[in-house]
Point group: C4
């Protein structure tokens, strides 16, 4: 199992995931411009998910630029990441339908947490394989941003039980914080 | 983030987008040849969208042949292009169902405009990164065709409120104008 | 537009097309083994289409092994092939639902004919670009198999109006005839 | 037909297959956290199928690392594998809906058996092409794990008629046994 192939397969799955979410968007029943408003909440949910998945793709690429070797643990934590990302599609469909309800927001936050956990597991598996002086180890550093995101997701899950809107705000906030590609890795690359 | 990877990911997403549109086409309820006519307007809408997305793919490729470097702005304007292109699927489903109605045609024109805007933003981001004497800058030139297309889309949106058929004609006209691969870039490549 | 990219994009689209056809297969309503029989005709239709699309993929690859250059005509006839192949999905869904009815079989035959025509147009565009002494020209030769297939499809369309079963038999027969990869191209490659 | 292209196409199809299974998961009708429980059995079925298909992808890659040449028999047995894997999607949808019923479990086991048979046929085709002293022949060895899996699937099919739960346990057991990448091939690679 070479790194190139893992990256190519991951790219393929993410390209499909980010695209099939649009299949959950159904055209309005009416034919007036006003009927578009029924699609707007789903469209915004799709936009949020598109950006979140896009960020994983970008960070994954920045990370794998400095990966020297992989093993079974990296492979399966990467599979866990792909599985978690695939659930974003289902979560977006439910959340887009009922953007203010507890259940869908709770589930949306859980899925984001699953993605963050599997990404972190992958990072740990990679760190274990690489020298502390390697470019990868330096690039990841203390992973402050990753830890803060994880904490934000952990907090956002129970909050959804009382105030779903705050959960959505937290998740959108994390998205904005990650919008800029990971500078730690970029720095090492330059 | 290398240029190659951005191009490969873009190719993957566009290949999926152009293909899943066909999933919106449902077989007729009847079993006679005459029942096919219920599918015809959707089929024509799909054909128009297939050509429009195909043109973006071709122009994207011609453009990236002469790209020397990319940055975060290029990356995210490319993501905005992919997001906009993914909405073509939804717009086609609605438009194919009601090809003469205001709402669907309005939305179809809006989506085309979004695609054109994000493509233009990507072009501007690329120009900012490259030398005015670079092959890319020469290839893009004054981008007359791009500006005319953008103007056509801008005009086609309000027109849909009074005469949807003219909006469809304008969009089809832009498609025909772009049918031939971008000569400006081809010229430089030769 | 390089040949490599055209082939990679074509591969991507065909991989998606051949796969999404399975989405048209819906699980039976019941839960007994006997309920599977409701899926059988659709499964056979899917198998036939899978083989037909698979053959196009294989022949496309054999052909592009000996391609030296492409132009806009090749590019767009290839796009026409992809568009035609994408209609196989819709045709399979209708045909699998009503395997003995005139409409679906007629449409299935029309789509096969469209695929054959666009493939032939692509072959002609390629021949025009290459020297008569080129490996491509020798590999294609007089294209007897292609001409016979086209004739079979042309004949199968009107036959569907009176005897759909014969049309299905003709199409299945063409599939069997193409099952073996194109020896003309293989011969030149060896 | 080069080995690289066969592998790339296979990767593409598997990436799509493993991803579109998530489209069968529909959001719950309600909006409470409790409504999630209606999705749980389907989610577990999807997880099992994701792992099973993932294992095929991993083993396919390990195997093709030591492949030196392919022929038509390898090509078509690989196509048969892709076709069988594509049926996992349909089987998962039915099985996830009725995880304890005879019909869906029977069909799920049949599909797993089809995948195992086509993978074995591909292995045999490859062995026939390669020298008994080749890395491939050594890597495959006596294929004890493959034979045991096949036997397990063969047994699991009739068992589903009387005790579907045991069939599911057997299939999950095979998945766990294959979870670790094939050491035979890894050993030779190192």
């Amino acid at each position: 199992m070479t790194t190139d192939r893992l990256v190519a397969f991951t790219d393929g799955v993410i390209a499909i995931l980010i695209t099939i979410m649009v299949l959950e968007l159904k055209p309005p029943a009416g034919t007036g411009i006003g009927d578009l408003h029924t699609v707007v909440p789903k469209l915004l949910a799709y936009l949020l998910s598109f950006v979140l998945v896009g960020i994983y793709w970008i960070n994954h690429h920045h990370l794998f630029h400095v990966v020297e070797k992989i093993d079974g643990a990296v492979l399966w934590s990467n599979m866990a990441l792909l599985f978690s990302l695939s659930l974003v599609s289902l979560a977006t469909a439910w959340f887009g339908e009922h953007p203010g309800s507890t259940g869908p927001v709770f589930w949306y936050a859980i899925v984001q947490l699953l993605c963050a956990i599997s990404y972190t597991l992958m990072t740990i598996s990679l760190l274990r394989l690489h020298d502390p002086e390697s470019r990868l180890a330096k690039a990841i550093g203390d992973d402050r941003k990753g830890k803060w995101s994880m904490l934000a997701y952990v907090v956002s899950v129970p909050i959804s039980l009382v105030a779903p809107a705050i959960t959505v705000a937290i998740i959108a906030g994390v998205a904005i914080a990650w919008f800029v590609p990971d500078r730690r890795v970029s720095r090492v690359l330059d």
